[in-house]
Symmetry: C2
Subunit: 179 residues, 2 copies
């Protein structure tokens, strides 16, 4: 199973691609960050995020995309950019027919460290170990994106069957427009 994880953000959108199945060693296929300049027009930043994510999808052709589920627990300005970047990631994947899974930060932390309250250093250390890397990926957004992908692979057996059923069903949903 090949999963592309996205830690959404406008300034830094972390991307990590992991391949493997639960119970077997995992392989990192790529990791990086899509950046957009903080002083650019918001709409143009979203276009840049879309182009960046499309390039990653083109290159790695993942079977699943795992995106961090955004909550309004941070400050308002940050959470808006995060929600908007996550929308772009979800859109890019769903448009290609790739199932999208949303995982909360605590689900991701619990999956890779055993604790939903683990700090960034702990997540980075476990990602490094699980993917047999020489050093933790930087910045933290990149490590978090890999953790999201790992989380999805490990939680997948039950969840993916549900996702596929829902996707099949929703593909025929009405796209209403009244004038």
């Amino acid at each position: 199973m090949r999963v592309l994880g996205v830690d959404p953000g406008l300034t830094r959108c972390g991307i990590g691609v992991v391949e493997g199945v639960a119970g077997r060693p995992l392989t990192m296929l790529g990791v990086g960050v899509v950046r957009t300049p903080a002083d650019a027009e918001p709409a143009l930043r979203l276009v840049a995020v879309e182009q960046g994510i499309e390039a990653w999808l083109d290159e790695h052709r993942p079977e699943y995309v795992a995106v961090e589920r955004v909550f309004s627990q941070h400050n308002v300005r940050t959470v808006m950019g995060t929600a908007q970047a996550s929308a772009v990631a979800m859109l890019c994947a769903a448009r290609r027919g790739i199932p999208v899974a949303l995982h909360t930060p605590s689900e991701v932390k619990a999956a890779v460290t055993g604790s939903g309250r683990a700090d960034k250093a702990q997540v980075g250390a476990m990602v490094t170990r699980l993917l047999r890397l020489d050093a933790p990926p930087k910045p933290a957004d990149a490590a978090d994106a890999l953790a999201l992908a790992i989380c999805h692979i490990w939680r997948a057996p039950a969840q993916n069957r549900l996702q596929q059923a829902v996707a099949l069903h929703a593909a025929t949903a009405p796209k209403g427009r009244t004038a």
Copy 2:
């Protein structure tokens, strides 16, 4: 000047197209709502919103798109959907090179009613009068989208010159991606 206003939302995304210039009678070219089913997958709802907005842009070819600026003042669940739908609208417009303007709800209310604290009925009544309609457009999301377009036309003379300068500048901004 032809402006497409968007009152963003996942369940109901209001769309209104208005043509005119400040100081002259305005003309409504279209109004409606893009709807997505509340029980569909979030990512597929975003795809449906994108398809709906693209159809409106294809049909009306606006010179500007005005989107409501989203704040985190409502409940968390609603504001996330609103932020994500607004991201899709901004993305669709910017991808085509159409300048995107963001206006706050109080800017829009003040523009069409004279008061930033006007209620929905007052906004609906003024939209009806300014566009010489027989009755207020329904649902309220549709009326709000028209109000956004009117607000943009009236605020435009200064703001659009700024938008165009920024858009020109940002078109060359880097779309970073490091591995």
